[in-house]
């Protein structure tokens, strides 16, 4: 027994697990704070599996058990089965089409008994493993186009399936894996260009057409003016500037409208506009200019900002936040759980929570950098990237800096699949890290 115990705990990064435990506890507390009704018997409710915090508590227990099992597993298991996991994940994603049920406007949920299961969440683990496995193969070189394309497809395949299931938020999460590829040698030029195109697309959706055109044109002219000396020497500079300008304008004028009108279905268009918090423009709505209103989204953000903003420096205290306790913020158990921290514990609480998250992310990166195997390192970066994306998008959404994209806050938001997925991601990392001395793979 003692031998085994030593075996499990040996090399485990305790800080990582303590952080996990702390964040999960904060999560249960936050869910408790927003769902507790006066007069509930806390202990009874916690055991009873009736209230949300009790459910989250049980999911936390389940995560712990699964975590122990993962720690008991040989780390070679994950490298060996990564591809299988990936296939399994894709199949599960596809299973949503025949068996999925529509909940809250998304079609990405499978019901098993009384439980709802979200394959798109779970698939993150698979992609993380598969990408790490692919990148760890010695012949792969992210400087080569073929490797780039395969890696991108591994990542984007589930993203595309998710988009088809109207789960835009989670689809975006898969883009975070480009951080892993960047770390493993993907040219930063590609990322910059990709990022720029993404910015162009978003700008097209957000900014009025002619305004954006005017802005782009004047930007191009100013650039030419400042580069006039180089332009005199080399005509190519002028042409490249003009080419970039033309590319931007064509994205703005033709590519995006084409994509929205011809490729996407009306409800998907609506969904995309609703995630960025705007009404569908008349030109994209097929039902004769009837504009779908997104009052809900505006309302959510407004209420969330009020709740967080009213917290002040020290917060109103646990269970004393009027906004979160009395359901002013919709979805406050799940996507808007940060409001509970912001209102109840104020700037101090938010600062501490964000501090914990930063600590977690930096710890993961530290673990990643001390790995000797590419698999472990890639995997660790994958975990860091996924967590980072979730955290930053979720919090910026609740404070009104980013459009409302419905993705949960890791370890805090209510939701079994999310908690399990994130815990499994973390425990696999802990296992891999514990075995970092086992040699290069």
């Amino acid at each position: 027994m003692s031998y085994r115990k030593q075996e499990i705990t040996k090399g485990i990064d305790w800080l990582l697990l303590w952080l996990w435990l702390l964040l999960c506890s904060i999560g249960i507390l936050a869910i408790f704070a927003v769902t507790y009704k006066d007069g509930d018997s806390v202990i009874q409710a916690l055991v009873g599996f009736k209230t949300d915090y009790s459910k989250q508590f049980y999911f936390f227990g389940l995560s712990f058990i699964i975590g122990v099992f993962i720690l008991l597993t040989d780390s070679k298991f994950f490298t060996a089965t990564a591809t299988i996991w990936y296939l399994l994940g894709i199949i599960m994603l596809l299973l949503v089409f025949p068996f999925g049920s529509n909940v809250r406007g998304t079609e990405s949920i499978i019901r098993i008994g009384g439980f709802q299961f979200q394959p798109a969440e779970f698939c993150k683990i698979c992609v993380c493993l598969a990408l790490a496995k692919y990148l760890s193969q010695p012949q792969r070189d992210l400087g080569r186009t073929k490797t780039q394309l395969v890696a991108a497809s591994i990542v984007l395949l589930p993203a595309i399936i998710s988009v088809m299931q109207s789960e835009t938020g989670l689809a975006l999460v898969y883009f975070s894996f480009f951080i892993v590829m960047y770390r493993e040698g993907l040219s930063s030029m590609i990322l910059i260009v990709g990022f720029s195109v993404a910015v162009m697309v978003v700008a097209t959706l957000l900014i009025e057409k002619s305004t954006l055109f005017f802005f782009l044109t004047s930007l191009a002219l100013v650039t030419i003016y400042f580069l006039r000396r180089q332009v005199k020497k080399k005509k190519a500079v002028l042409f490249s500037v003009l080419f970039i300008w033309l590319l931007c304008v064509s994205i703005q004028r033709f590519a995006v409208p084409f994509f929205f009108k011809q490729v996407l279905k009306p409800h998907q268009v609506e969904r995309i506009f609703s995630t960025i918090g705007k009404d569908v423009p008349v030109e994209y709505s097929l039902d004769g200019g009837i504009v779908a209103k997104n009052k809900d989204v505006h309302y959510n953000v407004k209420q969330s900002k009020i709740a967080i903003g009213s917290g002040g420096f020290f917060g109103k205290g646990l269970l004393k936040g009027t906004q979160t306790r009395y359901d002013f913020v919709p979805e406050q158990r799940t996507d808007f759980i940060f409001c509970a921290i912001g209102e109840g514990f104020g700037f101090m609480g938010s600062f501490v929570l964000i501090g914990l998250y930063v600590l977690l992310l930096f710890r993961i990166i530290l673990l990643a950098e001390r790995q000797r195997s590419t698999f472990s390192r890639s995997y660790a970066y994958g975990v860091a990237a996924v967590f980072f994306f979730h955290i930053i998008i979720n919090i910026t959404m609740t404070v009104g800096l980013a459009p409302v994209i419905g993705i949960p806050l890791p370890f805090l938001s209510y939701g079994g699949t999310s908690l399990l997925t994130n815990s499994i991601l973390l425990f696999i990392l802990a296992r891999l890290d514990a075995d970092r001395q086992m040699g290069m793979r």
Binding site: D38, I179, G309, G311, Q323, Y326, I354, Y357, F362, Q371
Partner: protein, 687 residues
């Protein structure tokens, strides 16, 4: 290979840090720098519930509550909780049809959402409330909620006490948002003028409300709450029995009665006819009744005692006499040779009702017989007094006397919107007659006609001055505020004597008072005689004209009587106007007699009871033109309504009887619209 890209880990870390830094800056701004969100959250989630204190009670001089508080019930509904009820039974009990029921439920949901209680029916009549209470267990989601209302136990003094109503926007703005929408506030009468005292002090209870606006508990455990302080009660001079009698006597008459206690200026009774029952404006039908009163052309809501401006007629002669005596123009021995008309201005006007020579042989007799020629001459002598440079100066002196007797000025009674009557200024005559006028021009001022106007209150107050021999206290109702402190300055102005500007000696008053005694004992006001009490009075009969249907028509005279009694120790001064009824002695004098009896003797004499009470109170003296005017205005309104809404349901009522609108609509178009509209409506009826 890993070492190759290791520097990139720093870049990734940097990106992470910058992102979180931006979030922290935004958080710092929202939570620490800006207080906008805190305020918004407070507005959203904290509901300051106003606790309304009980309004103060108003008592009469004998301690009877004449304006009290009572409870009625509103039926509230929470639509979400209305489940599995027998709608038909409910409708039967509440006397409505199912369509109406559905309408009201939908209305409640629309206005106030499904989960919040809203008013289903306000101010349930008592029998409905009792019936609902018996069956309430069958109807979940419906509850009765207490609602305090004002009640007038004696069904009297509507004009004096006033009523309360919801504060309007103008009022809310005027008070700097002290009142809120839906607050009740005194709208008229004492309710309005003593609003600050009657309303008490509102309390605030801070409650937390949730996203559906349901109240869920106390905010900060109620530590910020304030307690409501009940309104203070008022003690008045009103004698509610006299008041009731006065109102009874004025029923079916247009006119006013004011009775004042001369020593205190306290008003014993003030009635105005036509009258209304104040309780009509508190119960379930209050808005219906209010509209009805508003649309009545006889203006029952007008308090004619302070807003009715009448030519005072002969009642003014007493004041003319005192003025002349004080100015030293005449002595009590002065006589005027009147043979039925006044010829000094050459036109033989005014006429006098007495022809026998010698009826104005001295002042006393002139007052007793109310000789027009005598007092016209007196007025002219006063104005043309050689002491003054010219007629304008003389007139100004006369005017000042009248003003100091309280005519042509606002007295400052504790009721809102008192009228000031009219004693015309020289400016008016200068303008009308291009400055060329003399005492003959406006000689009828001496007998209370011409441009002279006075309210019944002013006349009663003038009686007080004579009864008090030279001073008055501003007429008022409230004698005392319960729990009065030095900070309550509102009553101070009703506790100071107003000496009239000219110091007139008591003996001069005695002369006039003697004349007034003669008026009752052997003069024009025999009907006001009370055995055992020396009544001093003066009748008045004022001519009046009215424009009806574009023609000036001389209507029956207004009947006036002013008096005070007893002579030795005046306890009551009265002014009475009965519009378009004839001589002062016929109607006004017996009314005064009964009021004095009631107040001084506490009961009516047998003579009054048998001869006068029923005779006067049942007599309908409403001018006949009112009926016609009512039909006319109603039909015009119906036509306007039709033009506005194309709803001819009102117009039909007047279509047959009213020929004015047909005649009136001379152009063909208008007539066409009217006929086609009724035609268009006919098939509708078959639906």
């Amino acid at each position: 290979m890993s070492a190759f890209n290791q520097s990139r880990s720093y870049i990734i870390k940097l990106v992470f840090l910058i992102s979180f830094f931006i979030v922290l800056v935004q958080l710092f701004y929202m939570q620490v720098v800006s207080n906008k969100y805190e305020k918004l959250a407070h507005d959203l989630s904290v509901y300051p519930k106003i606790i309304y204190p009980e309004r103060g009670i108003i008592y009469d001089r004998n301690g009877k509550a004449i304006l009290n508080n009572s409870i009625m019930y509103d039926l509230m509904v929470t639509p979400a909780e209305v489940k599995n009820i027998d709608t038909l039974e409910f409708c039967n009990i509440m006397e409505m049809d199912t369509a109406e029921f559905k309408n009201r439920i939908n209305d409640a949901i629309f206005k106030n959402s499904k989960v919040r209680p809203s008013v289903f029916e306000d101010l349930l009549p008592t029998y409905l409330q009792a019936r609902f209470e018996e069956n309430s267990w069958k109807f979940p989601g419906f509850v009765l909620v207490q609602r305090p209302i004002r009640t007038y136990p004696f069904n009297a003094a509507a004009h004096i006490l006033g009523y309360i109503g919801e504060a309007d926007t103008a009022q809310i703005r005027r008070t700097g948002n002290f009142y809120r929408m839906g607050d009740y506030v005194g709208k008229n009468g004492i309710e309005a003028s003593y609003e600050n005292i009657l309303m008490g002090q509102r309390g605030v209870q801070y409650l937390i409300r949730d996203n559906k606006n349901r109240l869920v508990g106390a905010y900060q455990k109620g530590t910020l709450d304030t307690v409501a302080i009940a309104g203070r009660s008022l003690r008045t001079y009103i004698d509610i029995e006299v008041q009731q009698l006065a109102e009874k006597l004025l029923s079916n008459k247009v006119g006013a009665i004011v009775a004042i206690e001369p020593k205190t200026g306290g008003i014993i009774a003030m009635a105005s006819g036509p009258n209304f029952n104040p309780n009509d404006l508190t119960g379930p039908d209050k808005s219906k009744n209010f509209a009805k009163l508003q649309l009545d052309v006889s203006a029952p809501m007008l308090n004619r005692a302070i807003k009715g401006q009448y030519p005072p007629g002969s009642t003014i002669k007493i004041l003319g006499a005192i003025t002349a005596l004080d100015e030293g123009i005449i002595t009590e021995k002065f006589g005027y040779n009147c043979n039925g008309r006044y010829f000094s201005c050459g036109i033989g006007k005014p006429a006098c009702s007495h022809h026998n020579i010698g009826h104005a042989a001295n002042l006393r007799m002139a007052i007793a017989n109310s000789c027009n020629s005598y007092f016209t001459h007196l007025y002219r002598m006063t104005v043309d007094n050689p002491k003054y440079k010219n007629v304008k100066e003389g007139y100004t002196v006369w005017q000042n006397y009248m003003n100091s007797f309280g005519l042509g000025v606002k007295l400052g009674i504790d009721l809102p919107s008192e009228d000031k009557g009219n004693i015309p200024d020289t400016v008016v005559y200068n303008k009308d007659y291009r400055s060329r006028w003399n005492s003959c021009t406006n000689l009828t001022l001496g007998i209370g006609q011409d441009k002279m106007l006075a309210t019944p209150l002013q006349l009663a107050n003038a009686m007080c001055i004579i009864a008090n021999k030279g001073f008055y206290i501003t007429p008022h109702f409230v004698s005392k505020i319960d729990g009065e402190t030095a900070a309550d300055t509102v009553l101070n102005r009703y506790r100071t004597k107003h000496e009239i500007s000219a110091k007139i000696s008591d003996s001069l008053y005695e002369i006039v008072i003697g004349g007034m005694q003669d008026v009752v004992e052997r003069g024009t006001a025999g009907n006001a005689r009370i055995p055992g009490i020396t009544v001093c009075g003066k009748t008045g009969t004022a001519e009046n004209k009215k424009v009806i249907d574009g023609k000036v028509i001389q209507l029956a005279d207004h009947s006036f009587f002013v008096c005070f009694a007893p002579r030795e120790n005046p306890k009551i001064a009265i002014a009475i106007v009965v519009e378009n009824s004839g001589f002062g002695n016929t109607w006004a004098a017996p009314i005064a007699k009964m009021i004095m009896e009631k107040y001084l003797n506490d009961s009516l004499s047998t003579e009054s009871q048998t001869k006068w009470l029923d005779y006067i109170s049942s007599k309908n003296l409403l001018p006949s033109y009112l009926k016609r005017l009512q039909t006319k205005t109603d039909s015009v309104r119906a036509f306007d309504w039709f033009k506005l809404t194309k709803d001819s349901s009102y117009i039909k009522k007047y279509k047959r009887t009213n020929k004015i609108s047909d005649k009136g609509s001379k152009n063909k178009k208008e007539r066409k619209v009217q006929t086609s509209s009724t035609a268009a409506l006919l098939p509708k009826k078959h639906f």
